[in-house]
């Protein structure tokens, strides 16, 4: 299934197709692909038995690089036929005496050269090449990243590195991901390798908290309270996750250790509903929504639940506090204080409350970009109540940009640690299961990560390192 998806996206990329058909043009702050470095990625070949796994390898490598959103992939039909496999394959052209007197000196081609890639029609800035082989029963990758606009091989080389993996498809994917992570790092891109997506799934019969790798692999059930557990959140250091659970007739917040899976002590005030937990970036406090004075309002407490302080005191529902990960001071939240629920912002001490969205439609699920500047949320603006779509906004200028406009619902956007991906849930039409997808900030490259049951409320967490 995953392979199929990857292949589908590969095909779409190769033909330049855009996934979200019927999408409104995007205006505002998000830059489009122009200006991104153009990169050519050869199809790697394997020596001997290694060749069997090269489809997995090439697919994964291409997918990782293209889905990063920071590179413009040069279509393979534009590549020269004479492809290098290692740096020594590059042979600078030489000049020779012209065949006819009076002509300028001839350029004699001696083999592949950098300009094959930098000149039209390829017009690449960078080239990824190399090969794999079998060594001591393991898969060996020699991977190179060259800047082909450089005059010589020495100055062209950015990466020349060995990678080892098991001699199977998994090993091939692993070395491809590691190599891709190194390449992306050269472009200032944080690798998503090691990051985790936490989410809610009902596939076991109850809503429980699950986690998976950033590409949808390794899906694991983390809780088994066999009631309703939802609204997961993960601390910035990746070591704790909190969620809301229906325990003994009331909604309470639970905090678990990621490493041991065990419940950590957390004191819930007496209330029928305590929900939407959020960690402060330093991991020392928890914000949540609790029904204390007759309405669910925003509260803050220590990580143990002690020293609880109610931050808002209004006669309406207020949920989903989300602390700016950069400043640790601004809090986004959803409030119905002006009528229907909108996105609001306040200082973490409850002061300077202001409305962020313009009062139209219903707003839900705010989340912060790691840069502390962009925000994402679900909004019904322009649609019927319940028909949410995903919007992003620069918190400074408050101009919304709509990313999805499918039929059905798109909700719960959450920024990846790399700041350029979003994970979200999509319900294609009424009555169909809800699944989790990732996409780029411009709304392109959707990838479906889940298939079993209903999967909702994804949050993208840093891995523990």
């Amino acid at each position: 299934m995953k392979i199929k998806l990857i292949l589908a996206s590969l095909a779409a990329l190769a033909t330049g197709a855009v996934f979200l058909s019927g999408q409104d043009p995007i205006s505002g702050v998000i830059t489009k692909p122009h200006g991104k470095p153009r990169i050519a990625v050869i199809d790697f070949r394997g020596a001997g038995d290694a060749q069997k796994f090269m489809t997995s390898f090439n697919t994964t490598l291409w997918d990782e690089l293209s889905n990063s959103g920071v590179l413009e992939m040069v279509g393979k039909s534009f590549y020269p036929l004479d492809v290098p496999q290692q740096p020594s394959d590059f042979k600078p052209p030489t000049t020779a005496a012209p065949l006819r007197r009076g002509d300028p000196p001839r350029t004699v081609r001696n083999g592949p050269w950098l300009t094959d890639w930098s000149n039209p029609p390829t017009s690449a800035n960078h080239l990824v090449f190399g090969y794999t082989a079998v060594q001591d029963g393991r898969l060996l990758l020699r991977g190179y990243l060259f800047t082909v606009t450089q005059p010589d091989v020495q100055s062209a080389q950015l990466i020349g590195k060995l990678y080892f993996g098991s001699l199977d498809d998994e090993g091939a994917k692993k070395v491809a991901r590691e190599f891709a992570a190194d390449i992306l790092q050269q472009f200032g891109q944080k690798s998503l390798s090691g990051t985790k997506i936490y989410f809610v799934s009902d596939r076991s019969g109850n809503k429980e908290i699950w986690s998976m790798d950033y590409d949808g692999s390794n899906q694991k059930q983390l809780t088994s309270y066999k009631t309703i557990s939802k609204e997961p959140i993960v601390s910035a250091d990746g070591r704790m996750f909190a969620f809301t659970s229906l325990i003994k007739g009331s909604w309470q917040i639970m905090i678990h250790s990621v490493e041991t899976g065990r419940k950590l002590p957390f004191y819930n005030p007496i209330s029928s509903t305590i929900e939407t937990p959020e960690f402060t970036p330093d991991g020392k406090h928890v914000l949540y929504a609790a029904s204390l004075g007759g309405y669910v309002n925003i509260c803050i407490s220590d990580i143990t639940g002690a020293n609880m302080n109610q931050l808002t005191h209004v006669r309406s529902q207020e949920v989903s506090p989300k602390v700016n990960p950069k400043t640790g001071r601004d809090v986004l939240f959803i409030s119905g204080r002006s009528g229907i629920e909108q996105l609001w912002r306040m200082n973490i001490d409850g002061s300077d409350v202001e409305r962020v969205t313009n009062g139209e439609g219903y707003v839900a699920n705010p989340s912060w970009n790691p840069n502390g500047q962009l925000i994402a949320f679900a909004w019904t603006r322009g649609f019927e109540p319940g028909s949410y779509n995903i919007f992003i906004m620069d918190i400074a200028d408050k101009k919304p940009v709509q990313l999805t406009s499918n039929a059905g619902k798109n909700e719960n956007p959450w920024f990846a640690p790399d700041g350029v991906h979003l994970v979200y849930q999509s319900t294609p039409s009424h009555g169909r299961p809800t699944q989790i997808y990732t996409m780029l900030l411009d709304g392109t490259h959707p990838q479906q990560l889940t298939t079993q049951g209903n999967n909702t409320q994804p949050v993208w967490a840093n891995g523990i390192n």
Partner: protein, 266 residues
């Protein structure tokens, strides 16, 4: 028919012979009470030896067999071959066929004794008397429909407008009736606890709906408390949009899901 008559004659004659033989063999004194006679008009009477008629109580009944103290019971009897017939409990001698009303004050066994020709027969009948009428079982025990069932049968859901938690006019009527149901239940079982569930339709976000459902449940609780339902018998819980009663995509279904529901506490 002729064969049958001959067989009967033979049988009766045979029986008489055997009795005589048995009597001789055992050499026991002749019993004062002769063995029961064969039915009088069976077969030919002239072959049967004459036997004295024995005392016999044909029936002795008391109706009704069980009474409350102070009520009457009619004893009836029928006795054959006796002129000395009496009832105990100082009722004394009675005729061979008769009846008598009695008013026993406690459970009593009446015995009819008939004598005659050197033998007697007795028959008894016992009349159950309950001295005082026990009270009916207490109301709760008797009409013991479980409170949870009463609640489920009689309490109505209260409905809300979209994204609202105000009790509408129709909701006030519903809750006024619900309050009566609850008070009736609590009158019978003061320890009964009710959970007010707040529910939402599917359109809002899960997080906001959980908060809204909480507020709806509280609004219902506040209204019931105003009507005199004790505060400590009412709990609240929100289910947000977790437990819809229908899943259609139209206002009729949305309205059914935007509700406050009364359920027994677990």
């Amino acid at each position: 028919m002729r064969n049958l008559s001959r067989t009967l004659v033979t049988a009766v004659f045979g029986a008489a012979l055997m009795m005589t033989a048995a009597g001789c063999k055992k050499k026991t004194p002749i019993p004062t009470t002769p063995p029961p006679t064969a039915p009088a008009n069976r077969g030919s009477g002239d072959t049967t030896p004459a036997v004295p008629l024995s005392v016999r109580i044909n029936s002795f009944t008391g109706e009704p067999r069980s009474i409350e103290k102070g009520q009457a019971v009619t004893l009836r009897w029928s006795v054959g071959n006796s002129t000395d017939i009496s009832l105990d409990h100082e009722l004394g001698a009675v005729a061979a066929n008769g009846s008598r009303q009695v008013f026993p004050s406690q459970t009593t066994t009446y015995t009819l004794t008939a004598k005659g020709g050197g033998n007697q027969d007795t028959r008894s009948v016992t009349i159950e008397v309950s001295s005082s009428v026990p009270p009916p079982p207490s109301r709760t025990a008797a009409v013991r429909i479980p409170p949870a069932e009463i609640l489920g049968r009689e309490a109505q859901d209260v409905y809300f407008d979209y994204d609202k938690n105000d009790i509408r006019a129709d909701g006030r009527d519903t809750l006024t009736k619900d309050a009566d149901v609850i008070k009736r239940i609590l009158g019978a079982d003061p320890t009964f606890t009710i959970v007010i569930e707040g529910h939402c339709d599917e359109r809002g976000s899960e997080e906001y709906n959980l908060a809204l459902g909480d507020r709806r449940a509280l609004a219902v609780k506040e209204f019931l408390v105003q009507l005199g339902v004790p505060d400590d018998r009412l709990k609240t819980i929100s289910f947000g949009k977790e437990r819809p009663v229908c899943t259609d995509e139209n206002e009729a279904c949305y309205q059914r899901n935007r509700r406050g529901h009364l359920a027994p506490a677990q």
